[in-house]
C-alpha cells in the first residue's frame, strides 16, 4: 500500500508544503507560499475533480482574508469576499481559524470559524459569506470571553449522518451543537470543566482546544480541553474524562485515525503555564480503545525539545498505514508513516507553526 502525501504547513510567516515519495521516506519542501502572511489554516475541498485549497491568511497590520489555490499551492488568489461582521455589530474579524467544506450534497458550501468567535457560511465557494447569527448572536454571548489565543471559533464538525446537525468549538467558551442546520445552537458542556461559572450562563466557559467526530457513529465525540481529555457518547449532551495513561491533561491537538475511529492521537504538554513537551521529551499519545487508555509514542522524537504543538498543527493522511504529522511552536515538523510507531523530522526550520493539513497525492 502506501502512497505519496502532501503535507501543508501554515506558519506565522507563510505556508510550506512537503511532498513525499511513494514510501513517504523522502520529502521535499516547497515554499514559502503567501510569504510574510500568517497562515492560520488550510482547508481542503475534495468534492470536485481536483482538490481546492482554502487558506485563512492574516497579518497583524493588514488583517485576515481567504485565499484559494486550484493547483495544490503553486499559485494562490485572494478572494474578494471574506467572513465579516456588520460594521455596527461591535465584533471584528481578527483571524480565520478553520475553513471546512460542506457536505457532498451541498456543492459550493463552505463554513468558516473565526476570531472574534463566530461561524460563517458561503454557498458559492467563498464568493460571499453570511454569518450564522444563531451562534454569532447567541443568547449567552455576553458571557463569552477570550482565552490566551483570542476568542476563537476553531472547530466545525458536520454530522455525516444528519444533514441538519453540526458542532462548533470555541476556546474559553465551550462546545455548541445545532440540530437545525445552524439556525439555533445549544451549549453542550455538561461534564466539562467551566473556568469561572457565571450565574446567568453557568454552562459557558469551557475551554475546548480541539474536538473530533467519529464518522461511523456520530454520537461519539472527543475533545482535548484546556483542562482535560474528554469523550461524549451522546453527541455532546454529556462528557466524561478519558485520561488513563496521559501524563498531563493539558494539550492542544487531537486527531483521529482515518479508518479506525477508536484510535486517536494527542500531544500532552506541560501545564497551561508552560505549554512545552513534558520534561523536554516530545511524545505523541495514542489510544486504540476509544480513549479508555493512552500510551506514549516517541520513537524517533527528540529529547531536550522545549516546544509546544498548537491545536491545528496535527493531521493524518488517509494512506495505509496512515501518516501522522505535527508541527511545533519552534517550527519543526515531524512525520510518521506508520500510524505513530516511528517518527522522523522533516527538513527545514520554519516559523511558528499554526496549522498542518495532509492529503494523499495521486501517482
Amino acid at each position: 500500500m502506501g502512497g505519496r502525501a502532501l503535507v501543508m504547513v501554515g506558519t506565522q510567516k507563510g505556508a510550506f508544503f512537503y511532498r513525499s515519495d511513494p514510501r513517504r521516506d523522502r520529502w521535499e519542501i516547497e515554499g514559502p507560499y503567501l510569504e510574510g502572511w500568517e497562515v492560520t489554516t488550510i482547508g481542503v475541498d475534495g468534492r470536485g475533480e481536483r482538490p481546492v485549497l482554502y487558506a485563512g491568511v492574516g497579518h497583524f497590520v493588514y488583517g485576515p482574508t481567504v485565499h484559494r489555490s486550484d493547483d495544490l499551492g503553486a499559485t494562490w488568489r485572494q478572494l474578494e469576499a471574506r467572513p465579516s461582521y456588520p460594521g455596527d455589530s461591535g465584533f471584528s474579524l481578527n483571524r480565520i481559524w478553520t475553513i471546512v467544506p460542506g457536505r457532498d450534497s451541498q456543492p459550493g458550501v463552505l463554513y468558516a470559524g473565526v476570531d472574534e468567535a463566530g461561524i460563517f457560511r458561503s454557498d458559492d465557494d467563498g464568493a460571499s459569506w453570511q454569518g450564522l447569527d444563531g451562534l454569532n448572536r447567541h443568547p449567552t454571548r455576553a458571557a463569552w470571553g477570550p482565552g490566551a489565543g483570542g476568542l476563537c471559533c476553531h472547530t466545525i464538525l458536520l454530522d455525516p449522518h444528519d444533514d441538519r446537525r453540526l458542532w462548533v468549538g470555541i476556546s474559553a467558551v465551550g462546545t455548541f451543537r445545532s440540530d437545525d442546520g445552524g439556525e439555533t445552537w445549544q451549549v453542550k458542556t455538561d461534564g466539562l470543566p467551566i473556568i469561572e461559572p457565571r450565574e446567568d450562563h453557568p454552562g459557558v466557559g469551557s475551554c475546548v482546544h480541539r474536538m473530533v467526530l467519529d464518522p461511523e457513529d456520530s454520537n461519539n465525540l472527543y475533545q482535548q480541553n484546556h483542562q482535560g481529555v474528554f469523550r461524549s457518547r451522546d453527541a455532546g449532551d454529556s462528557w466524561q474524562r478519558i485520561e488513563s495513561g496521559v501524563p498531563s491533561t493539558f494539550g492542544f491537538p487531537m486527531v483521529m485515525h482515518p479508518r479506525d475511529p477508536k484510535t486517536l492521537f494527542v500531544v500532552p504538554q506541560k501545564s497551561d503555564e508552560q505549554r512545552t513537551a513534558i520534561d523536554g521529551r516530545l511524545a505523541v499519545y495514542r489510544t486504540s480503545d476509544g480513549g479508555d487508555s493512552w500510551a506514549a509514542l516517541r520513537s524517533g522524537l527528540p529529547d531536550h525539545t522545549f516546544q509546544g504543538v498548537l491545536r491545528g498543527a496535527m493531521a493524518t493522511d488517509a494512506l495505509d498505514p496512515c501518516g501522522i504529522y505535527f508541527g511545533t511552536t519552534g517550527g519543526q515538523v515531524f512525520a510518521s508513516a506508520d500510524a505513530g510507531e516511528s517518527w522522523r523530522p522533516l527538513p527545514g526550520a520554519l516559523p511558528r507553526i499554526s496549522s498542518v493539513t495532509a492529503i494523499e497525492l495521486a501517482d
Binding site: 510574510g36 502572511w37 497579518h59 497583524f60 497590520v61 493588514y62 488583517g63 485576515p64 482574508t65 485572494q78 474578494e80 471574506r82 465579516s84 461582521y85 456588520p86 460594521g87 455589530s89 465584533f91 471584528s92 474579524l93
Partner: protein, 106 residues
C-alpha cells in the same frame, strides 16, 4: 507624478492622477505592482477610489467598521496623514500617497 491616459476610463482627458505606493505584502492584491494610480482628489476620495479600483486592498486597509486599520500608516509626500481630520485635504499636485506599516505595529 501626475499621469494621464493610463487607464481606459481616462479617455484621454486631462484627469490628474496620484500615485499610491504599496508595501510588499499588499502588492499581490494589485497584480504584483509596487504602485497604482488613482484620480486625484482629497485623501479620502483617493482612498475610496483606490479600494474601488482595487477591491482586494479594502480588507487590508480598513477594518469591519470601515476605519483605517490601527497599524496602517499613510503619508502624502513626506507628511504622515493617517488621522482622519486630514482626509478632507486635497492631495497636492506632484505628491504621492504611501501606505506603510506603522512602527506602532511592532
Amino acid at each position: 507624478m501626475p499621469e494621464r491616459g493610463d487607464r481606459p476610463d481616462d479617455e484621454g482627458d486631462a484627469v490628474e492622477r496620484v500615485e499610491v505606493h504599496l508595501p510588499s505584502l499588499l502588492r499581490p492584491a494589485v497584480g504584483g505592482r509596487s504602485s497604482v494610480t488613482v484620480e486625484r482628489g482629497t485623501l479620502g476620495q483617493c482612498l475610496e477610489r483606490l479600494v474601488r479600483d482595487h477591491p482586494l486592498l479594502a480588507p487590508h486597509l480598513f477594518d469591519d467598521r470601515g476605519e483605517l486599520r490601527e497599524h496602517v500608516n499613510l503619508f502624502v509626500g513626506e507628511r504622515n496623514v493617517r488621522w482622519r481630520d486630514r482626509w478632507h485635504e486635497a492631495v497636492p499636485t506632484g505628491e504621492g500617497i504611501t501606505v506603510l506599516q506603522a512602527v506602532s505595529g511592532g
